[in-house]
Structure formats: C-alpha cells, structure tokens
Amino acid sequence: MSKITQKDVERIAGLARIRFGDKEKEKMAAEIGAILGYIDKLKEVDTDGVEPISNITGMENVMRKDEPTKNQLAEQAAEAAKLIEMAPDNKDNFVKVKAVFGE
C-alpha cells in the first residue's frame, strides 16, 4: 500500500493543484513512500467498534443565525474593500480571474 510511484505523485499533484518538475516528483515519491511506510503501523491497531470523532472536546455543528449584526455590517463593508484590494488582480470592486470557459 505504501509504494508510491511517479504516476501516483502525478495524480495527487493534479488533485492538489501543484506543478512539480520530474526531479521533484521522484523525490516526492520516495519521501511520501517512506512516511506512509511508517504510518502503516496503524494497521496493527484493532479499531473494531471505535467511533471516530472529529472534535476532541466533543462539540458538534456549531451554528449561528445567518443574520449580520449592525456592527458587523459596517465592519464587513470596510473589510470587504480590504479583501478585494488584497487580490492579485481586481477590477471595479471585483476579484479578477482568468477566463473559466474556453473561447
């Protein structure tokens, strides 16, 4: 299970949206393979009947009403401007991206 091929690396890199050179791919395959080899020791542990939890203090689905407070409205408008300013490319108060559909 822990043998990682260059092909695996290419598949994962595609999912993770990272471009790698050939040398990097080779290195990544070896390193990930070694780490997963170590992680394989988890197979020794009997986890039958164990319910996985995702929050360690036992909280679940913390919700709030989808209503901004007055304070938030003013703050959010100011913050929104800052956030758009932060984008590498913006136009007319919008974040600008490359064309999503082909021509």
């Binding site: 988890l42 164990v50 956030l83 932060m86």
Partner: protein, 477 residues
C-alpha cells in the same frame, strides 16, 4: 546571547508602576536590542518602527500587560501589519483584521514589537522550514531554536521581547521552549480563540504564550483565554474562567502524578532522561505522589498525527490559489488552471508541499478509510488512554523532546523530523493542555543546552497545570 537579567511581565509592570522607566523607554530599549541582536538570530521577520500604543489610557494597576513589550508569531494576524506565515505565497499579505488573541492583548494595553519567524505555515519542529531562513538558537547559534514557533522561543530566550505568542499544533510552542530554555504553554484546544490564526490543522491548532516564568504564562493566559463566537471550536464556558495566577503558590503535596513509561523509551537522550528523572524526584520531594503508568496507544501518535495534520493541511491550504491573495503566477498565455499550478509551485516550500501531497493522498478516493478514518479511530484510542489516567491522576509528566536542540541540518530527513514530536503531538491529538518548563542543561560539545520538562493536565485544568509547573519551577531554582 542569552540574557540572564530577566525582564518578566511582573518585573516590567513593577518598573512601570514605580516610574523607573516609561512605556516609551522600555519599548525603545527593546527596539534597540532587537536591532543589534536580531541579525545574529533571525528571530523577527518584521520589526515595527513605532509599536502602536493603542490604549493611551492603559491602567498599570489593573492590567499587568499594559506597556509590556510583546512579540507575535507571524501566523497570527495584527490588523494592517504584514502576516507572512514565513511563506513566499504570503510575503506581501497585509492582515485586514486583528486575531481575537491580539484584540484582547491590545485591550490590555500590550505594545507589539514585531512578528517572529516560524516554519512555513507552522509546519516543522526546528524552524528551518521558514522561507526567510532559519532562526538560530541563542544558546548555540550552530543549532536550531525549535519549531515551529522558532522566533518566539529565541526572542524570549534572548530577551528580545518580554514574552511572545506562539501557536502549537503538535509541539510548536513546547519544542522551542524546550530548546531555548523558556516556558511554553499550549492551552486546551478551544480555550483560546483561533480566529485570526492562519489555519494549519484546525482540530489541533492552539495559540499560547512563550514566557520566561510560569507566572507570566498564567498572566498571558488570563488575558487571551475565553469563548469567541468567531471560532466555532472555541468552547463556550458557562462559568467564569479562573484567575490562573491565583493558585500558583498552593502546595502540591498529595497531588497524584503519572509518569508514562512510554515517555522514557528508546531514543531518549541520556542527559535528558537524567534531568527529567531529577525533576520527577523534585516533585516527589514536594509531596506529590508519583506512579509509573502506561499509555500504550502513544506509540501510534506520530503515525496518527501525520495523517490527520496533512489531511487538514491539504484542505486549509487550498485557499492559496494565486487568485484571492498572496503571490500569483500570472503569465499572459496561462489558463486559470496554470495560475493555480504555478502559483502554488512557486509560492509554497518543500515541507508544505509534502504535507499537502500526503493529505491529498490520504483523503483521495480509495484511501480515505485506510488512512484518514483509521487515524481518527486511533486518535480516539489515544484520548481514551489519557482519560483513563486522568480518572486517577492530576497530571502526567515527562521530557518535552527526546533530545536537546539539534544542529542545523541534522533533522533533514522528513520522517526523522516528524519523530521529534513523539512526546508532544499525542497531547494535541487528545486536545489536552500542556506546558514545557526548563529543567536544567545538557552538556553538549562544551555548550550548555537547555532541556524542557513537560507537564500535562486534563481538559481545561490549566489552573492545576500551572500550579504544578510553578511549584516545580521554584523548587528547581
């Protein structure tokens, strides 16, 4: 480079109250020290020219932090200041708001000196994974200062700040505290708001103080702890939080201390072992009751950690796409997909990429059950191990890291570096609070290298944790 004439929060507050110096003077004093010493250590990534003293009406009588110069790890947002997470992808990012912990420190009148170095996005045990060069250990500059809160640990040890904030996901506050000979506290997950902390692994990340004394750690915790609706994992506390300084002095006679044999297994440095044993003997001489116990599932903690962390990392770092903020590789000919692929290739460092790749693999179709789900289940078993011990004992103790600070480059192998977290990451997996305090020095190549001792308590029992730490700290003096 270690400054032994220690300026603590307590002593600076006293000095300010007595009028021995003004806030402006003590801040200027630290700025001059940083200017002189930082080039040797690389503890700070940015140094603020004129720390804004937000609250001119600070009250020295009611706020111990008022006017006391503080350093902040560069993954915690301070409004209108750069926040890089020591990554090229955020090199020019300016924080649009304050982290909750920062807002609370500002309210207390804390002046900020600057932002400290870290492993990129807090991923690392040595501080060497910073895109802006490693932080060097003030006790021996050929050695690392420990990660990932590398700059915060070094800055406090070298007295380039009275105290600092760090963050701890698998040991990132306690490891630098251990290697630099200072105090590092990781609170219970959910006690301190993560709002405004750049997310690494959200189920484990926690902000905490790095200080020179246990009392100072309690003072900082008093100021930053508490529920925050902006962090959904922040635990609502029905009753008022305790004053964490109140019981420090109280005797620990009769307290029950558990020593897990797994914290003293192979790989533990001999001198670290001796110093930890001496600290345990000290606890016994203070009247604590010591028992050896076993936490059998601890053996699997590093394996669990390096599935859960990369999995959460792969999701949390998906936002660095070259579109919303930060570095963007935007060639004329490139498509939207190219922008993603190239921005992430150029902007993220090797350890960050490694973890994103590992996590993406662990969460991908066909592997989720074998890796992520399995790890989540073993995580429960690790927590159960601790629950069993804490049903009978007040605290669990042992060494913080198996060895003193390694040389730069010594932990180059990724897996070897991951194993540095062997005693610290189980605590994050179980969500527990833990503190590392100095317990002496190891003699290595004519240098005296600090060694840390770790104390762990049950969820939200920081008061007892700090009480034991304070008693031991005083006894070891």
């Amino acid at each position: 480079m270690v400054n032994n004439s220690v300026n603590t929060i307590k002593s600076v507050n006293e000095g300010l109250k007595k009028g021995e110096f003004s806030v402006e003077e003590i801040v200027a004093d630290y700025q001059a020290r940083i200017k002189k010493e930082n080039p040797k250590l690389n503890a700070y990534l940015s140094i603020f020219d004129s720390p804004k003293l937000e609250t001119r009406n600070y009250k020295l009588e009611t706020s111990l932090l008022a006017g006391v110069p503080c350093a902040v790890k560069d993954n915690i947002l301070i409004s209108d200041e750069k926040c890089t997470a020591a990554s090229k992808i955020l090199e020019k990012y300016v924080a649009p708001y304050d982290a909750t912990a920062i807002a609370r420190l500002k309210q207390a009148g804390a002046p900020f000196l600057g932002k400290t170095n870290l492993d990129e996005f807090a991923m690392g045990a040595t501080g060497e994974h910073s895109a802006f060069g490693p932080t060097l250990n003030p006790h021996d500059t050929s050695r690392v200062s420990g990660g990932s809160s590398a700059g915060s640990g070094a800055a406090v040890a070298a007295d380039l700040a009275v105290y600092a904030l760090g963050s701890d996901t698998g040991g990132s506050i306690r490891e630098p505290a251990s290697f630099c000979g200072v105090v590092g506290l990781k609170p219970t997950h959910g006690l301190v708001s993560r709002h405004g902390l750049i997310a690494m692994a959200s189920s484990l990340d926690q902000i905490g103080p790095i200080t020179k004394t246990v009392e100072d750690a309690a003072i900082v915790l008093n100021n930053i702890a508490g529920h925050d609706p902006m962090d959904s994992t922040s635990v609502p506390v029905s009753r008022e939080l305790p004053d964490y300084t109140a019981n420090l002095n109280k005797s620990i006679a009769g307290l029950k201390v558990a020593v897990p044999k797994e914290f003293f297994s192979e790989g533990l440095d001999n001198q670290v072992n001796n110093l930890a044993q001496a600290a345990i003997a000290k606890l016994e001489s203070l009247g604590a009751h010591i028992d050896q116990v076993s936490l059998p599932m601890i053996e699997y903690a590093v394996a669990v950690y390096y599935i859960i962390v990369p999995s959460e990392v792969s999701a949390n770092l998906a936002r660095y796409d070259g579109i919303k903020y930060g570095l963007s590789s935007n060639k004329k000919s490139s498509s939207l997909l190219d922008v993603y692929l190239d921005s992430r290739a150029e902007g993220l460092g090797p350890e960050v990429k490694r973890r994103i790749m590992l996590g993406t693999y662990a969460l991908s179709a066909g592997y989720y059950d074998a890796y992520y789900l399995k790890a989540q289940k073993v995580r429960v078993l690790i927590k159960n191990d601790f629950d069993k011990i804490f049903a009978k004992y007040d605290v669990v103790v042992g060494p913080t890291v198996p060895y003193p600070a390694p040389k730069l480059g010594e932990l180059d192998d990724p897996l070897a570096a991951y194993l540095a977290d062997v005693y610290t990451c189980p605590i994050n997996l179980a969500g527990l609070p833990a503190i590392s305090i100095p317990c002496g020095f190891a003699d290595v190549e004519d240098k005296k290298l600090p060694v840390g001792f770790q104390i762990i308590a049950k969820h939200f029992d920081e008061a007892k944790l700090l009480q034991v730490a304070y008693n031991l700290e005083q006894a070891l003096k």
